[in-house]
């Protein structure tokens, strides 16, 4: 039960039921749509970037608890970050959720609350749920407007 409790632990359940920054953004100057065709999770990420700093970030969409919680916690973490810090956070989060379950490597540092997603790598079928909002955010920052988990 430990793995499951880790995946669905308090913080993740809280963010999935009460997602933070769950709104559109009229003044967004970066946005992208993300879609996981396997399960139908959809997300749109909005960012307002000024002087290379993320001033505001929000998301809309529908999906499972893992993707919703991931998006919610991502938006909390990104506010105030520079673009290069955001890119770096993406890499660390991605490494966390795609870690090979058979290798006991230490979790990447500097993830703060996002470290709760460490449990996702035990559920390979859910990795894409966790990473969808992040791929979408990355696509938005890179100027593309569409992301997919494929």
């Amino acid at each position: 039960m430990d793995d499951l409790r880790e995946l669905y632990q308090e913080t993740i359940l809280d963010h999935s039921k009460r997602p933070r920054n769950f709104r559109g953004m009229k003044e967004a100057n970066r946005r992208a749509n993300g879609h996981n065709p396997l399960c139908g999770d959809r997300t749109t990420v909005y960012l307002h970037v000024e002087d290379d700093v993320v001033r505001d970030v929000s998301f809309e969409g529908s999906g499972c608890s893992i993707s919703t919680a991931s998006a919610s916690m991502m938006t909390d973490a990104l506010k105030g970050m520079t673009l290069s810090e955001a890119k770096d956070l993406f890499d660390r989060f991605h490494a966390l959720v795609t870690a090979d379950p058979s290798r006991t490597a230490p979790a990447p540092a500097g993830l703060g609350k996002l470290a709760v997603f460490a449990g996702v790598h035990e559920f390979p079928m859910r990795v894409k749920c966790a990473s969808l909002p992040w791929h979408t955010m990355k696509a938005a920052l890179e100027g593309g407007d569409r992301a997919s988990t494929e």
Binding site: M1, D3, L4, L7, Y8, L13, K17, L38, C39, G40, D41, R42, S62, G63, C64, S65, I66, F123, M125, R126, C129
Partner: protein, 414 residues
């Protein structure tokens, strides 16, 4: 709600379970509760043995050789075709094309029949219940030809609106293609009536029987349809083999679909001539061992009795429906008066993906998502459902476990 009859004492489900080696597997130490037969069925030992024995004792390419093994393999393969003919109630073996599965069958008809008979301004009629494999080939055909795809809507119970179906038939309808049983909702459609109506409008009628063949007796002559397709892997047979039934006159008139070896009578660089039915539509080396094992699967189903299987599954469906209906926060999707083998549902505030993961943790295998039927999901305004589907080896205890598992999911998300 109808009173649920006690389990049929003559159907020995424990004996049947012992024939399925995979049911001895455990998932994280828990027994496997396999409720995903609508996606693909498990295989009983005789089917596994039949396929292995082909490779161990009699394997050879079919239809061409003069040596002993090729004769044995050919006989076994053609015997399997005969079994498929009887399974579907077709008149002749030449009306049975063996191919990869239902999806391939629909594509074959859309291309080899559709291209020659559907033109600009013509129509193809399907229903709102269809699996993507009975939508996309027709979309491709209509796109190619400038024809229109018409869709008979479904009502809130998941039944086809037959009045609308009738209204949508027109002198321009060339092809009607419908699912016998819905894989997403379990609805059993009135295919005999649909065939009559389609014929009255001058159309040919194709039936997607992938979800029907494991659950009810199919008689293509009684239905009167022009084409009927099913997949071996759903009827306890191997994957990669299935069949298309087509009326001989139609198949004769159709041009070949795939070109290659076996479907020819003679080949020169100037011209090739085609083999007779059904080989005209069977280019290349087929799934030989798979076809023979499909015959073994049909034998096995005959031995157990499709009627007995249907009765057992029906009783389970009633039991399961009753269990799930009583769970607060659960809504059944697909409540047609006549259903087969499928319990699709949504839970308030909980995404099916999460339901599936938590159930899987306890060894319960269900399917979550759109089930290759996105239009069905759209019709009910939901992104996905959780689907538990039944086979001959499922038990009431397994449905009890499903209900307990759902309770656990709801507890976790309170």
């Amino acid at each position: 709600m109808t009173r649920v009859a006690p389990p049929d004492a003559t159907f020995d489900v424990e004996a049947i379970r012992r024939e399925f080696p995979v049911l001895r597997e455990t998932v994280r130490g828990r027994p496997l509760v396999y409720l995903d037969s609508a996606a693909s069925a498990q295989k009983p030992q005789p089917v596994i043995d039949a396929e292995r024995e082909v490779y161990e004792r009699s394997y050879s390419n079919v239809h061409r050789g003069v040596h002993h093994l090729s004769m044995v393999a050919t006989e076994s393969y053609e015997k399997a075709r005969g079994k498929v003919r009887r399974f579907l109630g077709a008149a002749a073996s030449r009306e049975i094309v063996l191919l990869r599965g239902t999806t391939e069958a629909v594509n074959l008809v859309a291309q080899a029949y559709g291209r020659a008979h559907v033109g600009a301004g013509d129509e193809v009629l399907v229903t709102g219940l269809e699996h993507h494999s009975n939508i996309v080939p027709w979309q491709l055909l209509c796109g190619e030809k400038g024809a229109a795809l018409r869709v008979a809507p479904i009502d809130d119970t998941g039944e086809v609106d037959m009045a609308a179906f009738e209204r949508l038939l027109s002198p321009r309808t060339r092809i009607v293609s419908v699912a016998h049983v819905s894989n997403a909702l379990g609805t059993v459609s009135p295919v005999r009536r649909m065939t009559e109506l389609g014929h009255a409008a001058g159309a040919v009628v194709m039936i997607d029987g992938a979800q029907a063949a494991p659950h009810l007796a199919v008689d293509v002559q009684a239905i009167g349809c022009d084409f009927y397709a099913f997949s071996g892997h759903k009827v306890y047979g191997p994957s990669g083999v299935g069949a298309l039934y087509g009326k001989a006159a139609l198949l004769e008139a159709m041009p070949p679909w795939q070109g290659g070896g076996d479907m020819i009578a003679s080949v020169t660089f100037e011209k090739s001539t085609w083999n007779e039915l059904p080989y005209k539509f069977e280019a290349g080396t087929p799934n030989i061992a798979g076809g023979i094992a499909l015959g073994a699967a049909i034998d096995w189903v005959d031995k157990v009795g499709l009627g007995a299987i249907a009765a057992h599954e029906h009783e389970l469906l009633e039991y399961g429906t009753g269990l799930l209906e009583r769970l607060p926060g659960l809504r059944l999707v697909g409540t047609a008066r006549e259903k087969a083998g499928v319990l699709s549902f949504v839970l308030d505030g909980i995404h099916p993906h999460d339901v599936g993961t938590i159930l899987d943790y306890d060894g319960i295998a269900v399917r979550t998502g759109h089930h290759c039927a996105q239009p069905v999901m759209d019709r009910f305004g939901i992104p996905a459902t959780t689907r538990a589907s039944l086979a001959c080896f499922n038990t009431r205890e397994e449905l009890d476990a499903l209900a307990r598992g759902i309770g656990k999911v709801q507890e976790m998300f309170k």
